[in-house]
């Protein structure tokens, strides 16, 4: 037998609705807190090409990057450039990892490892004989600062064309390392081939000094500073992600702007 429905008084209705809604709110709050604890305490990723981030956060980072890259990356999107005179006179210096001290150009050659096993050895004079490209743009550090700077060197795509590295440029990544292997970056090919990416040897019209990557460094305006490797020793090409100093320390591998 079903009991006849008794009309609740207003007081009872208030009590009942308050009880139910606060109960649900409590469940939601506990669930949200639990989810946060789970995320915060989640295990670190297995150290590999990337390391140092919580496993779920690394996955999210990769997926988000890929989403925005597919949505927006376009080699026709150029980094904003500025009049030459707006460039800073004193260029900010942040890190010396892999490029401390001096390395005079005569004691250096760029080692380019081709996919046929051959290694090209290229001197600075040879590079300086190639068409020179200059850029004045806002250099952006992952820390949050930015500075308008003037750089000059060989456009990466010109370099590829001149040394007939077309087969190499069909691979997905370029790997760059300092001569002492202390600092290393991996760059996706579309960003490397971006028309504003330079193998730079001049800063404010003078050859690079010791603490700015003497004698040759990467200037890649579509990436954060961490990818702008100073003092390039070797260049490799691959279809897998080359090792990357800051990606091993919890930063995003792509780090594109």
């Amino acid at each position: 037998m079903k009991k006849p429905e008794k009309e609740l008084t207003v007081e009872q209705k208030i009590k009942r609705r308050t009880f139910i809604s606060f109960g649900l709110f409590g469940v939601y709050a506990a669930g949200a807190y639990g989810a946060w604890r789970w995320l915060y305490k989640s295990a670190e990723e297995t150290a590999g090409i990337t390391a140092g981030a919580r496993r779920p956060l690394r996955r999210a980072l990769n997926k988000t990057e890929l989403f925005f890259r597919r949505l927006t990356f376009n080699e026709n999107h150029l980094v904003k450039t500025y009049p030459r005179e707006m460039a800073a006179k004193i260029i900010r210096h942040n890190s010396d990892i892999g490029s401390a001290g001096k390395l005079p150009p005569e004691n250096w050659k760029l080692q380019v490892k081709k996919i046929n096993g051959e290694t090209l050895q290229i001197s600075l004079n040879e590079l300086m004989a190639l068409p020179k490209t200059e850029i004045t743009y806002d250099f952006k550090c992952v820390e949050g600062w930015d500075q308008i700077q003037h750089w000059a060197g060989v456009k990466f795509s010109d370099f590829i064309a001149h040394y007939k590295l077309d087969a190499e440029a069909k691979l997905q990544y370029v790997g760059l390392e300092t001569p002492d292997k202390q600092y290393y970056v991996g760059i996706d090919m579309p960003s490397a081939m971006h028309p504003q990416t330079l193998l730079a040897y001049q800063m404010n019209d003078v050859l690079l000094s010791g603490n700015h990557g003497q004698p040759l460094r990467l200037i890649i305006p579509v990436k954060y500073g961490i990818k702008n490797l100073k003092r390039i020793g070797t260049m490799t090409f691959s279809n897998t992600r080359p090792r990357d100093y800051w990606a091993e320390q919890g930063y995003d591998y792509y780090s594109g702007l």
Partner: protein
């Protein structure tokens, strides 16, 4: 006689309570990021009034040396912040709730009167609907600020690909400043909001969880059935 009066729709309550922890995480992870280049301060005529942030502040909250971690959290929770805000706005538009929220032509003048009333300078407050004029201005402003955070955030995140957003913000450098100022704005909003909620009392607070308010109503004579009146 006590009467139950529906006040806040379910979706409004959900988005509000989702936003609260999500925005908290966004502000916290934002501080982890900001620490790496903490150059902002309020300096007038060479005198620094506030430095963002003092050492004790960082130490208490364990902020230093966590930039990568901060970015990882920030770039995940930005999705929840944005989508939640998007659903709230969409709902407000479709349901017509925006009518109670958007300031009208009287709101700005009245908001001033509400402020004076709340500060006990003025005795009477202007008549109000679901929200008073000050609330209309504040709750609309906070949505505009949210949109501002998304736009300035995207401009900092991808200043090259979203060059047009960076342009709208006055460039990359300025976008980062706007992004920071908006965050300070949220903290101020939160402080005032909390004080107002406490002052408004239990009935008002309950409504944001249960959806209804209890109001005292004089029983209207019309309720007493008058057999003569067929039109009732």
């Amino acid at each position: 006689m006590k009467v139950i009066k529906e006040k806040h729709p379910l979706i409004m309550r959900w988005t509000h309570w989702i936003n609260f922890p999500v925005l908290t995480i966004m502000i916290w992870s934002g501080m982890l990021i900001y620490w790496a280049n903490d150059v902002y301060s309020v300096t007038i005529f060479g005198h620094t009034f506030v430095r963002f942030f003092p050492e004790w502040f960082y130490k208490t909250l364990h902020i230093p040396q966590r930039l990568a971690e901060g970015m990882a959290f920030h770039f995940l929770f930005m999705w929840f912040f944005t989508l939640n805000g998007f659903f709230y706005v969409l709902y407000s538009i479709i349901s017509g709730e925006w009518r109670y929220l958007l300031p009208n032509k009287h709101s700005f003048k009245e908001a001033w009167q509400v402020l004076l009333h709340d500060l006990h300078i003025r005795k009477t407050a202007p008549p109000q609907g679901k929200y008073n004029a000050a609330q209309r201005v504040a709750y609309t402003a906070i949505i505009v600020m949210g949109l501002g955070s998304v736009i300035t955030g995207l401009a900092i995140y991808k200043p090259v690909q979203f060059y047009w957003l960076a342009w709208i913000c006055g460039g990359y450098h300025l976008a980062r400043i706007w992004h920071f100022v908006l965050t300070i704005g949220y903290v101020f909003f939160f402080l005032v909001h909390i004080v107002q909620v406490i002052l408004a009392g239990w009935n008002n607070f309950r409504a944001v969880i249960s959806g209804f308010e209890v109001v005292e109503e004089q029983p209207k004579p019309a309720i007493e059935t008058n057999s003569d009146d067929e039109k009732a």
